[in-house]
């Protein structure tokens, strides 16, 4: 295991980048980065054929550190750039990494349309319930009543469930994991990347520095182990009442269906339209 970690670190991190990275000690983003690299390594994808696009925010800085074709785009727009890359060069494996505010506030429209459109892209959304980089303002996943730098009296709005939103919008593969369940996350990412069509993995993560501190949720270890206690496997949750699920969330695969993939369908259109008279 140690040997493999060394291999992955050597093979997939950019060594000519001026480290250290921007993340705070204990941040869950590093765990997601590790999981993503292990999944890609396990799948044996050539580095030259992988494109990772991200938006803006702490989690989106991930693209800076990894040795693929990387695209750090504008806030919320990673999926739009990814759509262009994928359609222009379908042989590339396109993965996006976004935060909760990035993907579901400013990028919410792009997110639901990417799911509806069903292009062969994987979206990894790191959900830490806050805008960490800008100082801890409330995001679309900040829970009702929580404190943030823009809801010091307690948040009066309700939060999105990102994975359920993706299911409803039409994503063919949707999973939720946490930074506590790293081994499971490796597998979920592998499944998502392998899936034909638009796949989504929501990763529940910790921002103990902004969200955690203001809501007395403890340090990084406390927050991350808290995910262990609050996460319920999808199959088990199906047998639990709403009351029993209060304060908890599901992990695992929420949706895995097959639908025609629009990027592949378009190839058929190309073939057919060539046959038509000019």
């Amino acid at each position: 295991m140690v040997v493999e970690t060394e291999v992955i670190r050597h093979e997939y991190l950019r060594h000519d980048k001026k480290f250290p990275h921007v993340w705070c000690p204990g941040c869950g983003n590093g765990i997601v980065l590790g999981s993503l690299l292990r999944a890609i390594h396990e799948l044996g994808l050539p580095k030259d054929d992988v494109v990772v696009a991200s938006g803006i925010g702490c989690s989106s800085r991930l693209t800076t550190y990894i040795d693929f074709n990387t695209l750090h785009t504008t806030h919320g727009r990673a999926l739009t750039f990814a759509t262009g890359v994928k359609l222009a060069k379908p042989r590339l494996k396109v993965i996006t990494v976004m935060g909760d505010g990035d993907a579901t506030a400013i990028g919410g429209n792009h997110f639901i349309h990417a799911a509806r459109r069903n292009i062969n892209i994987t979206a990894v959304i790191i959900n830490n319930s806050t805008y960490g980089m800008t100082g801890g303002q409330y995001s679309p996943t900040t829970p009702y009543g929580s404190k943030s730098t823009t809801s010091v009296y307690g948040h009066v709005e309700h939060d999105f469930s990102i994975a359920e939103l993706a299911v409803t919008a039409g994503a063919v593969f949707v999973a939720r994991g946490t930074v506590y369940h790293a081994a499971q996350l490796d597998k979920l990412l592998e499944q998502a990347i392998t899936k034909r069509g638009f796949s989504v993995v929501e990763v529940i993560s910790n921002c103990h520095v902004q969200h955690g501190r203001r809501n007395k949720l403890g340090d990084a270890v406390t927050m991350i182990t808290g995910f262990r206690d609050r996460a319920v496997p999808v199959a088990k949750a199906a047998k639990m009442s709403a009351e029993e699920m209060r304060g908890k969330f599901t992990i695992g695969v929420l949706c895995d269906v097959d639908k025609p993939v629009s990027s592949e369908e378009y190839d058929r259109i190309r073939q057919e339209s060539c046959q038509l008279p000019q």
């Binding site: 054929d49 693929f68 739009t80 378009y266 190309r270």
Partner: protein, 381 residues
């Protein structure tokens, strides 16, 4: 449906000619969102692109359209979008991204009356300064204006060529009148069309520095998936593409972005003069208004007035040399525009000889007629 290869006479509207020009220039990716008066460009490309192995996609909005064409261009495919004022406003964010990451792409803005939803089916030239300065920060950009259906073909080709050569987004300003006017044009055959492609790196991947300066000021551009793995970011970056906050690296990078355009001035500045040899009064115009202006000049000549025409095709970088020459030669210049004087302001800015510059403006959604311009010429003669 005519293919762009034909050398035959065609009756086309401006929007259709833009499509043929784009295809002739090698455009193989289009992302857009429906908007009047630009929608015909989307509609025709949705038919034509798959036939040539290209891709058409209708995105959820203009922000997404702009993102998609940048992504496609990074993957090595020449890309374009087309819109009008409200959509052009939404594109400004990612337009800035294309400037700082030096991604070639062409953005067609078929101008209609503004501000806001404004006059969707009426003509205007209200987006001229927005095309230059719409996205935030000091940035380089090229803005071209078309005045005829023939222009819509040839200038679209030029737009792609400049974009590829200088790795900069090029804004093609059309307007509702040019877009919907039908004229007879003969499209040149493909072998007569000069097509410029971005220069790919020739060094081995491990030597590749995606944003390193060279004598052109335009770094070689590797496409995603060709072995030259690199980082693309909208943050100010060093020559390897990684974010930097070093003042020296910041300034040299941003200056290079501007200098690469300055180095190309002689090629980028496109203007056209007619009857200027002996002119004492000139009309400086662009877009559909230059058509009315040309007619007015002929009418003025019939009155015995030595009138001439300076048509601006490149609006930005501002063609200072050509404007300066016209202002030095003439005692007066008429600047008719379908806005409140956006280019007249630029012309006055470079007016060193105190030549009389007379603005003539309409913002009521109607064309300026030759008679109106003639009246202005007679007024200064």
């Amino acid at each position: 449906m005519a293919s762009p290869e034909t050398g035959q006479r065609l009756l086309l509207q401006g929007n259709e000619a833009v499509v043929h020009g784009a295809l002739a220039a090698g455009c193989r990716f289009f992302a857009g969102y429906p908007i009047t008066p630009a929608s015909e460009i989307s509609e025709l490309l949705s038919v034509m692109l798959p036939k040539v192995g290209g891709t058409f996609i209708q995105m959820e909005d203009e922000i997404a359209s702009m993102g998609a064409i940048i992504g496609a261009s990074l993957a090595g495919v020449k890309s374009m979008t087309a819109t009008s004022g409200p959509g052009f406003s939404l594109m400004q964010e990612n337009l800035g991204y294309a400037c700082i990451t030096e991604v070639p792409c062409v953005v067609v803005n078929v101008m209609r009356g503004g501000p806001s939803t404004g006059l969707p089916t009426n003509v205007s030239q209200g987006d001229v300064l927005m095309a230059r300065w719409g996205t935030h920060g000091d940035h380089p950009i090229i803005v071209l204006a078309v005045s005829s259906v023939a222009d819509c073909f040839s200038i679209t080709v030029r737009a792609f060529n400049l974009s590829e050569k200088y790795r900069v987004p090029v804004i093609l300003l059309s307007d509702e009148v040019v877009a919907h006017t039908r004229e007879c044009v003969v499209l040149p055959s493909q072998d007569k069309i000069r097509v410029v492609d971005r220069i790919a790196p020739s060094v081995p991947p491990e030597w590749y520095k995606p944003y390193a300066d060279n004598n052109r000021g335009v770094p070689d551009m590797a496409s995603f998936g060709e072995g030259y793995r690199h980082h693309v970011t909208g943050l100010v970056h060093d020559e390897r593409g990684y974010p930097t906050q070093q003042p020296k690296e910041i300034e040299s990078f941003l200056m290079r972005l501007h200098d690469k355009i300055t180095k190309g001035f002689s090629e980028i500045m496109i203007t056209k003069t007619q009857m200027m040899e002996d002119a004492d009064v000139c009309v400086i115009a662009y877009g559909c208004v230059s058509r009315a202006a040309m007619q007015a000049i002929k009418m003025a000549r019939a009155h015995g007035i030595k009138a001439g025409m300076l048509q601006l095709i490149t609006l930005f970088p501002f063609p200072r040399k050509a404007v300066d020459a016209a202002l030095r030669q003439c005692s007066a210049a008429i600047v008719p525009e379908l806005n409140l004087g956006q280019m007249a302001r630029e012309i006055n800015r470079v007016n060193q000889t105190g030549t009389r510059v007379v603005k003539y403006n309409r913002i009521d959604g109607q064309m300026i007629t030759p008679d109106e311009i003639l009246k202005q010429i007679l007024g200064v003669s």
